[in-house]
């Protein structure tokens, strides 16, 4: 007989679904099936069970092949590398628990490293904008229960956050939205006719990279001022109509994603989107929220925030925390050749950084801590496999609306495999010994 573990947290995207049911074998050792999760979440749970996992650290040999080493050797290499380096980069932190992040930050403080998380290639520009102009936001629960105007700007949750719409934004029946999607009007702004756009009441097929103009045009339209005939490829009549639609709601929300953060203008796009939200609050209640990607990238920002005062790109090399995106951000540091060692945990820059940055990682002493085989592990000098957080070990995570949720353990990791936190704790201890500090 199999048994079902209820209320499991899905460790894939920032939606952090908390209603997953996992069927495990009678002895509680293997996952048999996953219910309620999206295709990506289910694949993540099932992949942990495949026999092809790497279960011991691997060191790159001069010919490029990899040789198995013990965890002790891996701890020694990592600690030596971090202590010897003058300016190591410790990057990632988004696919792990807040507890592990905290140990990582302790190491970074000791060795004088730069700590950066995946926001640097995701919502980093959002964080800069929030520091510039603030952010009127809310929780996903409020959206489910109250929101009747939903705007997806430059994001495609159907593909990136597959259950977002059914759990929070379009379909659920909430306290004041008891007719579900019939209570809501959905606007999508995207240069492609995305699968999210196909579900919308109104789709603005904007010219790519013209978000700043269109956001400004909505702010003009709200004030009933004159617009040119076309803005960003959209006729002015449609913009006036859209502004009316936004104003006429009782509670509106703008969700935004990589379409605005990664296009030119970057943080200024978000500045303007936040100011549009502020303007809309003259007429009705409006909020704005970033569609965070990794399940605990928000947590990394939170932990860095309360420990050092900044949410990403934290430079501890001078013994105190500095923050200057463009200077202390991973891609700028790598491209300019300003770091001399790279430690990656809970992320895959090998696949998701521009290739010019990846080449630098391959040239440097480098450690990749990741349960999967990834392009990063295959160019790093050392690959340390670990347990999957949220499946094989619990831990605290933050949802995209900054709500902390404790992830649960479902099954044991493969025999002898350490968790992120255990590995980091051992590295921390060894770093302390090498440096003569506690």
């Amino acid at each position: 007989m199999t048994k079902v573990v209820p209320d499991v947290i899905c460790p894939f995207c920032g939606t952090l679904c908390d209603d997953i049911e996992v069927e495990v074998s009678d002895d509680g050792k293997t996952i048999v099936d996953v219910y309620n999760a999206c295709a990506i979440g289910a694949e993540k749970f099932m992949h942990t069970q495949e026999g092809d996992r790497v279960t011991r650290p691997r060191m790159q040999q001069p010919d490029g092949s990899y040789k198995e080493v013990s965890y002790d050797e891996a701890v020694e290499y990592t600690a030596q590398m971090l202590v010897k380096a003058r300016k190591p980069l410790m990057y990632g932190w988004s696919s792990t628990s807040c507890e592990a992040q905290s140990v990582g930050h302790e190491i970074a403080e000791k060795v004088g490293a730069i700590i950066d998380n995946t926001a640097t290639v995701c919502h980093g520009s959002t964080l800069i904008a929030v520091q510039d102009v603030g952010i009127p936001s809310c929780t996903l629960g409020e959206i489910k229960n109250r929101a009747d105007r939903i705007i997806f700007w430059g994001c495609n949750p159907t593909h990136a956050h597959p259950r977002h719409q059914s759990r929070y934004s379009i379909y659920p029946r909430g306290f004041f939205t008891n007719k579900g999607h019939k209570n809501r009007k959905v606007i999508v702004v995207d240069p492609r006719n995305t699968d999210t756009a196909k579900m919308a009441d109104v789709h603005y097929q904007i010219e790519q990279g013209r978000d700043y103009e269109l956001l400004s045009a909505f702010r003009v339209a709200l004030r009933n001022e004159e617009l040119p005939d076309f803005v960003a490829g959209i006729p002015k009549e449609k913009i006036y109509e859209g502004a009316e639609l936004m104003k006429s709601g009782r509670f509106g929300i703008i969700f935004f994603g990589m379409g605005v953060t990664q296009s030119l203008s970057k943080n200024h796009n978000i500045d303007n989107a936040i100011m549009l939200t502020k303007d809309l609050n003259e007429f009705t209640k409006f909020s704005i929220m970033a569609m965070r990607g990794h399940y605990n990238v928000t947590g990394s920002g939170q932990v860095l925030g309360w420990q050092f005062g900044f949410p990403f790109c934290v430079d501890l090399t001078r013994g105190f925390a500095r923050y200057n995106p463009g200077e202390t951000s991973s891609n700028d540091l790598l491209r300019r050749g300003e770091v001399d060692a790279v430690f990656v945990l809970g992320s895959d820059p090998g696949a998701h950084f521009p290739i010019s940055s990846v080449k630098k990682i391959a040239e440097l002493p480098s450690v990749a801590v990741d349960p999967h085989i990834t392009p990063t592990t295959e160019v790093s000098k050392l690959h340390v496999p670990v347990a999957f957080v949220g499946i094989e070990v619990g831990g605290n995570c933050y949802r995209m609306d900054n709500v902390p949720i404790d992830a649960r353990k479902v099954v044991d990791p493969p025999e002898g495999v350490l968790t992120d936190e255990e590995f980091l704790t051992r590295v921390n201890k060894r770093v302390g010994e090498l440096m003569g500090v506690n």
Partner: protein, 133 residues
């Protein structure tokens, strides 16, 4: 040989997400992300059939991917490579002092490369790092 100029963006797809979680070293990941989604009108301009290998070149690099018809179109003039090492072989690494590379809005040229192979993610990144491709 015909070359056409397009504007490239990248991003997530559900297939990219599933294949990524199943293992980036596997074929499914190459099938999900080693592609370029192009509008049918652009494929016609290029004179390419669907599912033809093409070489994508930007001021920042070059990569071979398979050209497929846009799944979330129409979007003439715009091309889409799912996020991954193939997109990042040609993406614009300039951050303009924000820390954020310019992953969306990269000027590219596309030409047919029928006899060239789409490399797997690990092969592609390792070869790029060694300067072999």
């Amino acid at each position: 040989m015909t070359k056409i100029a397009l504007n490239l963006i990248s991003g997530r797809t559900i297939h990219q997400g599933v294949a990524m979680e199943a293992g980036k070293e596997k074929d499914a990941y190459t099938k999900a992300c080693g592609i370029i989604e192009m509008d049918p009108s652009d494929l016609k301009k290029l004179g390419a059939w669907r599912n033809t290998n093409v070489r994508v070149t930007s001021p920042y690099g070059s990569v071979v991917v398979k050209a497929v018809e846009a799944t979330q179109g129409p979007h003439p003039g715009l091309a889409y490579i799912p996020m991954g090492p193939w997109a990042n072989s040609v993406t614009d690494p300039n951050t303009y002092s924000t820390g954020m590379p310019t992953f969306k809005g990269v000027p590219i040229e596309v030409e047919v490369a029928m006899n060239e192979k789409v490399l797997s993610s690990v092969e592609l990144v390792q070869k790029k790092c060694r300067g072999e491709v």
